[in-house]
């Protein structure tokens, strides 16, 4: 078994899990991804609990795919992003999935904490639409096109 580069050129479909409670943000992100690469499949979890269910294929998410990337907001209902991050990064099956914090918080404390918990990068949401589009485009360019990721684990 050889490691398969994940990318637009590959036969596999790239899936992204967006954990975000604001429908406006979800829509904006979806629009931005579509603009960057229309083939990417974006799943959405609107709170931390749902995100974990999705990742662990529990309940209604039994058939969920394993995402290639996770975009995680910090302030979420039920279980906040920090705890979701901590669980992902302490789970052997999940910790290899690149997990990006995407939030409005510019707090130094939040930034430091996120990296301590193993976030792969910390991004603040730009207010201007053009800047947001550019940010999503660079995520896709870097994490989907350029980076070689670990082979997908057989999960579930």
């Amino acid at each position: 078994m050889t490691a398969m580069p994940v990318g637009r050129a590959g036969p596999e479909i790239v899936t992204v899990l967006l954990v975000e409670d604001s429908p406006g943000d979800v829509r904006l992100t979806r629009e931005a991804f579509r603009q960057a690469n229309p083939t990417i499949v974006m799943h959405v979890a609107t709170d931390g609990v749902e995100a974990m269910d999705f990742l662990l294929k529990e309940g209604a998410h039994a058939l969920s795919p394993r995402p290639d990337l996770i975009l995680l907001d910090l302030n979420l209902p039920r279980m906040d992003g920090r705890e979701v991050l901590a669980r992902i990064k302490s789970d052997d099956g999940l910790k290899t999935i690149p997990t990006m914090i995407l939030t409005t918080s510019q707090s130094d404390v939040d930034i430091a904490k996120a990296y301590q918990l193993g976030a792969n990068c910390y991004l603040t949401k730009p207010v201007q639409l053009d800047a947001f589009d550019a940010l999503v485009a660079s995520i896709v360019d870097f994490w989907v096109t350029k980076v070689r990721l670990a082979q997908k684990a057989k999960h579930g």
């Binding site: 604001s22 406006g24 904006l28 629009e31 409005t104 707090s107 207010v127 201007q128 639409l129 947001f132």
Partner: protein
């Protein structure tokens, strides 16, 4: 055995020798006459004829040179003094007797003697002529100066180290070698024993301390230096010293070893204890009668027997009553205390010593003393029994209470004088004597402490001011009135007052001395500072509340601006999305409306960002560290790269120093100032220059100079305020927060910021930061 100093000066008696007859008989005659004298001389003596042959010699000469007398008689003197003597015979033989007399042995000729065993030793000879029938003979007094020579060497060695010490010593000091010869001595030793130094050097110490010292040399030389050190001179050995004139005096010596190249020497510190001995014998006489105690007493003391006769008295008693001791001894005590004492003798002698101890002198009997001149004075006596072989005696301690009586009067007077002043004072006032007793107080003091006046008078001030006052009485009693005046009540001592009901209250006291006839009293002005203390506490509370509220406000500003961003993003993003997708597809009104919405949202977003930045300046306090202002500027310029490239601005700077700053804030400061300099421009190319100069002690003043629009003087202050803008939005965008942030940053760093400008001439913003040194 050398003799104690038969003085050499006596020797020229040989001169008197008359006309000779026959040599041999003459010599025999001379020998007979002067033998005693010769033998008594401490030096070796030889008489030599003009042929250089020895014709007479003494025992010391035999000993020194190691020959029997008959081995030397008739032999050439060169046998024992190979050089320098025989050669002088002629010359010296011709000198007159007067010349010889003038020549002291100490100014003699230093030569070398040779013993029978061939060993040589240094000698000093003094020659003098001796007329005889065979012609002029020459008498040579020969002194072995080995020891002196050695002593000279040792002395030279020790000179640096010990001479100063020796001479500085209050005692006579002699250093003695193991042969018992004195090799060093000090001036005190010369004086004490009445010798010149050269008369003692090389001599046996037994000359000045006949017994008890030389015997100890062996013993003491083996003691370690530490043991010697441990031995104090006061615990020394008591011996007898002998002066040159033969008189003896008691001495105490303390011996200690002194290591030298010549072996262990013994240093003897010799103290003349004549006076001490005298004192001791006197004391011994008085011992049974407590003389020492009596004399040490501050009061006049007399000891009286059962019949009322004074048997002992002290110096104070002599002084107080104006009698000499012998005028009172054996006299009736009624002479000095006419009434009230003699009558008590019977009564008091029966008290036990314990009872007497229990009776304080201050609670004694007040009587009247009578001086020799007939004048009376108030006294207080305390009696106590004293067991003696003659039966129970009575000791009376007599205190002159004239001063106290006067003081009591003075106090009454003082009270009268100051009462008005005291009562007028707004503070509680108490006057305290040196034993801490309250002697005067005012109405305010009564009120404040809740006592009636009579409850406090005569009581210890510690009853109302438990701590911190009484302890200061002594120190303050000694301060000058000027010092006290200089001390304002507002700089007084904060203590705690204690009311009669046991409650406490904070006070401030100001002490000042008050001279009275008897002693220095201390006036204490006592101010109740309850109200002030409450106010202080209240103020501290308010300050704390304010600090908290300020903190909350900053926190609120931060959180608000942060949370406001979220909905704002929605407004901004979706109006922009609208604009992007539908611009030109709806009507022109729609395009305009969308444009305003986008513009409004964008401005609000900038405002929130600036507010956030502003509140952040307050958020992380106290993170000042050594920071390169040069690097901070470069980072700011990197952040401004877009604006710089767009305008083609030329930003230059001098070399900038290390400062004490929060680096992030310093970057922000430069960014705002340089950003403003680039932004507020006419159409020309912006030129900005950043520089720094040393400003006072450990500070730098930075300048950001531009060629921009400039600012009118009237706005110099205003521009640093929050939301203050000088331009229309259409001219220059901005929130009016940038310079407010600059001001806050600089002030957080303990500095100030200002602007110097003229419209059309550019502006220079200056701010001060602490150096990192």
């Amino acid at each position: 055995m050398e003799m104690p100093q038969a003085p050499v000066q006596d020797f020229p008696a040989y001169r008197d020798v008359g006309v000779s007859k026959e040599a041999q008989s003459h010599l025999a005659q001379m020998d007979g006459r002067y033998r005693g004298l010769l033998e008594a001389a401490p030096d070796a003596m030889v008489v030599v004829n003009q042929g250089g042959e020895i014709v007479i010699l003494n025992l010391q000469a035999e000993k020194k040179f190691g020959y029997h007398r008959d081995e030397l008689l008739g032999q050439k003197v060169t046998n024992i003094i190979p050089e320098g003597f025989a050669e002088r015979l002629y010359a010296d033989g011709l000198r007159s007797a007067e010349d010889a007399l003038a020549q002291q042995i100490d100014t003699g000729i230093e030569l070398t003697g040779r013993r029978k065993d061939g060993t040589a030793f240094p000698i000093e000879i003094m020659l003098s002529p001796l007329e005889s029938t065979e012609g002029v003979l020459v008498t040579a007094a020969i002194r072995d100066i080995s020891v002196r020579r050695r002593a000279d060497r040792v002395l030279a060695q020790m000179e640096e180290r010990y001479r100063g010490l020796l001479e500085a010593a209050p005692d006579a000091m002699v250093v003695v070698n193991q042969g018992g010869e004195i090799i060093i001595l000090n001036l005190q030793a010369e004086k004490k024993f009445g010798y010149r130094r050269d008369e003692l050097l090389g001599q046996q110490v037994t000359n000045i301390i006949p017994e008890g010292f030389a015997e100890r040399l062996r013993l003491d030389e083996t003691r370690t230096a530490d043991e010697a050190l441990a031995q104090q001179i006061d615990t020394g050995i008591e011996l007898t010293g002998r002066r040159k004139d033969g008189s003896a005096f008691p001495i105490e010596i303390m011996l200690s070893p002194l290591d030298s190249a010549e072996g262990i020497l013994v240093t003897a510190a010799i103290r003349d204890i004549t006076v001490r001995r005298q004192a001791e014998s006197h004391l011994a006489q008085m011992e049974g009668r407590y003389r020492g105690l009596l004399e040490a007493a501050p009061d006049a003391m007399v000891v009286v027997n059962k019949t009322g006769e004074i048997v002992i008295l002290n110096l104070q008693a002599e002084k107080k009553f104006g009698y000499r001791r012998d005028e009172l001894l054996g006299q009736q005590v009624t002479n000095i205390i006419p009434d009230g004492f003699a009558e008590r003798l019977l009564l008091d002698e029966t008290r036990t010593a314990d009872e007497a101890l229990a009776q304080q002198i201050d609670t004694g009997i007040e009587l009247t003393g009578r001086r020799k001149d007939g004048s009376d004075f108030p006294i207080e006596i305390m009696l106590s029994p004293l067991e003696s072989p003659e039966g129970i005696l009575v000791t009376a301690a007599i205190r002159d209470i004239t001063v106290r009586r006067k003081a009591e009067k003075t106090l009454a007077l003082l009270e009268g004088q100051y009462r008005g002043l005291l009562e007028a004072a707004p503070d509680a006032m108490v006057v305290v004597n040196q034993t801490g007793e309250i002697v005067i107080l005012n109405l305010q003091a009564e009120k404040k402490f809740g006592y009636r006046r009579d409850e406090l008078l005569g009581q210890q001030v510690t009853n109302i001011v438990p701590d911190g006052f009484a302890e200061r009485l002594h120190a303050d009693g000694l301060r000058s009135a000027e010092d006290a005046l200089a001390q304002q009540i507002d700089t007084g001592i904060e203590l705690t007052g204690l009311r009669k009901d046991g409650s406490e209250f904070p006070i401030e006291i100001m002490l000042s001395p008050l001279e009275s006839a008897e002693e220095t009293l201390v006036t204490a002005a006592i101010r109740d500072i309850s109200v002030r203390k409450d106010a202080e506490t209240h103020l501290l509370q308010k300050v704390e509340e304010l600090r908290k509220s300020n903190e909350e406000l900053e926190q609120f500003a931060y959180l608000a601006s942060h949370d406001l961003q979220e909905p704002l993003r929605m407004v901004t993003s979706y109006t922009q999305l609208l604009a992007r997708r539908y611009k030109g597809k709806l009507d022109t009104d729609a395009d305009e409306f969308i444009a305003y919405a986008v513009d409004g949202a964008t401005r609000m977003q900038r405002l929130i960002q600036d507010l956030l930045a502003y509140s952040r300046v307050g958020a992380n306090e106290g993170n000042l560290a050594e920071t390169s202002s040069e690097e901070a500027l470069q980072r700011a310029l990197a952040n401004l790269r877009g604006a710089i490239e767009e305008t083609g601005a030329i930003v230059t700077n001098d070399s900038l120093p290390m400062v004490l700053a929060d680096e992030g804030q310093l970057v922000q400061l430069f960014q705002n100032l340089v950003g403003n300099a680039i932004k507020y421009q006419n159409k020309g190319v912006p030129e900005v220059h950043v520089s720094a100069e040393v400003y006072g002690r450990k500070k730098w003043i930075f300048a950001v100079k531009d060629n921009g629009l400039g600012i009118e003087r009237q706005y110099f202050e205003r521009i640093f305020g929050m939301f203050q803008r000088l331009h229309k939005r259409e001219e220059f965008a901005g929130t009016g927060v940038g310079l407010a942030i600059c001001k806050k940053i600089v002030e957080r760093h303990g500095g100030t910021i200002s602007v110097e400008s003229q419209p059309g001439m550019g502006s220079t913003f200056r701010f001060i930061l602490a150096s990192s040194e």
